[in-house]
């Protein structure tokens, strides 16, 4: 990866934000835990980690974080969401709890816990040409699925049965799975390469 080091915010309200920060740091950029709106002004990109989307939603609305993230998305800030992060980026969330909101930005509908409970969590290899020729080992933990995809959304990866698990639209990137816990950094490098 060429270019100067970047500051990448990781939304640190809840979830595996430390794993994302470690991956970003390991790739020569600087990962910064972000919990307050003003902290967003210092970053070149944002990662929304895995965790519980219901919790992230509630906490992000408490101190103005939700509005701040939405404004940054509207301004074109590159944002990558994994699992719960993908849910937070989806315009439509299926099987949400009453009153649950998302930041939106990705013209997709995403279903929470689409595979079932933890007994159905799994790991597998996925072909993702956008990040390289070799398959990427992907871990799905009570994972969501992208059910419908708008016209401007590019599908980056799908399971063999066609269910969509990685998408991109403009500066926004979302995956159902967790590259931050496998040691394969190609997805993070792919995201970092999109930072301005």
């Amino acid at each position: 990866m060429g270019g100067s080091p970047r500051s990448v915010g990781v939304l640190a309200l809840q979830g595996d934000f430390r794993e994302h920060i470690a991956v970003v740091d390991g790739l020569g950029s600087t990962g910064i835990a972000v919990r307050k709106p003003e902290e967003l002004d210092r970053v070149d990109g944002l990662i929304i980690p895995g965790g519980e989307s219901t919790v992230m939603d509630k906490l992000s609305r408490l101190y103005g974080m939700a509005d701040a993230v939405k404004a940054k998305i509207a301004d074109g800030l590159p944002v990558y969401g994994t699992c719960a992060g993908l849910i937070m980026l989806a315009d439509t969330v299926l099987d949400a709890i009453t009153g649950q909101q998302s930041f939106g930005g990705l013209d997709v509908s995403v279903r929470r816990n689409a595979f079932g409970n933890q007994l159905d969590s799994f790991e597998t290899d996925l072909a993702i040409p956008a990040v390289g020729a070799d398959p990427l080992h992907a871990v799905f933990i009570r994972a969501p699925i992208v059910e419908t995809v708008g016209p401007k959304v590019e599908t980056l990866a799908a399971l063999d049965d066609g269910r969509v698990v990685a998408v991109r639209q403009g500066a926004l990137l979302g995956t159902s799975f967790h590259p931050e816990i496998t040691g394969d950094t190609r997805f993070h490098r792919f995201f970092l390469s999109t930072l301005g």
Partner: protein
């Protein structure tokens, strides 16, 4: 995936190129996603819904909260499956449920009910005073309690995918939780400072496998997520645990034995995220109504202390 039969860890066919369920990575991974969050004890679907609405990352289903187990005495067991089904149906966040130490059939039942995590818990009456459950036998992940590093490593060796420091459940007194998280963290720091030739005897003293001890010494942390539990009753208690290095917090009796459970639960969630921000913890601590009454751990006679169960 939904049609696949899942009994033990292994490969399944779900129309996908070779996929695996019940692996260590998948089991430990769910705990990673719960980090920075609050897991709340609930005894029925109504409480589970209140917990979810307040921002719990998961709920823990049990028959009676620890304060009631302590007050009422008697043998405490796994919840009625109807209650667990009701809780699973009521919420979309992960549902954990408690099985007695060593009671692998209660664990089999909980796995069959489709819970997301099993807590092999000292809060219930042990079913086996010698052996814990062989947790490698299960697809569902387990969390286990520990009062010190050796105990944590023995549980991990048996297959636990998450550890919680025990504290003294059902007291509302956070002092034992403080002691246990400090002990575990302190013992990890001590290992990190040892030279390689000292790790053999360290493994002997910890009564834990040498390879695991070497891994802890090298990485400076447990290979699984470490939450804390037992006596957390206020937002400041939760933030204290986080500042002491916990990855997240279990709150048992502290919520539903208080005057305003929904408000207190939301406040504890807020203090857990903003644990380094005293102004926010102060704000979260205001006007919560009555905290659970509580018992000083020093007033609990030794035979009635739950933390001594498990070894």
């Amino acid at each position: 995936m939904t049609d696949s039969t899942v009994l033990a860890s292994g490969s399944v066919s779900n129309g996908q190129t070779e996929s695996s369920v019940g692996t260590s990575r998948v089991k430990r991974g769910l705990a990673e996603m719960l980090k920075g969050g609050v897991i709340m004890d609930v005894v029925n679907a109504e409480q589970a819904k209140i917990a979810e609405d307040a921002g719990a990352t998961a709920v823990m289903a049990l028959e009676r909260v620890p304060a009631d187990i302590r007050a009422q005495g008697g043998v405490a067991r796994m919840s009625d499956p109807d209650l667990i089904d009701g809780i699973v149906a009521a919420v979309s966040i992960p549902v954990m449920a408690k099985a007695r130490i060593g009671h692998f059939v209660e664990a089999q039942v909980l796995q069959a009910l489709g819970v997301d995590y099993i807590d092999e818990s000292e809060v219930l009456s042990p079913a086996d005073y010698v052996n814990h459950i062989d947790k490698w036998d299960f697809t569902v992940p387990f969390v286990c309690g520990a009062t010190n590093l050796g105990e944590a490593l023995r549980r991990i060796t048996e297959g636990a995918a998450m550890i919680r420091s025990k504290g003294e459940a059902g007291t509302g007194d956070v002092s034992e939780a403080t002691k246990h998280i400090r002990t575990i963290k302190g013992e990890i720091r001590a290992l990190s400072s040892k030279s390689p030739d000292e790790l053999f005897v360290a493994a002997k003293e910890l009564q834990a496998p040498y390879d695991l001890v070497v891994e802890i010494a090298r990485t400076g942390k447990l290979p699984v997520v470490l939450f804390t539990a037992g006596g957390v009753a206020t937002p400041a208690d939760a933030a204290l645990m986080m500042q002491l290095g916990a990855d997240g917090v279990f709150v048992g009796s502290g919520i539903f034995k208080s005057g305003d459970p929904a408000k207190r639960a939301a406040a504890i969630v807020r203090a857990t995220t903003y644990f380094e921000d005293p102004a926010i913890i102060a704000e979260a601590s205001r006007g919560l109504g009555e905290a659970m009454v509580g018992i000083n751990v020093a007033d609990v006679p030794a035979p009635h202390r739950l933390a001594t169960r498990g070894w």
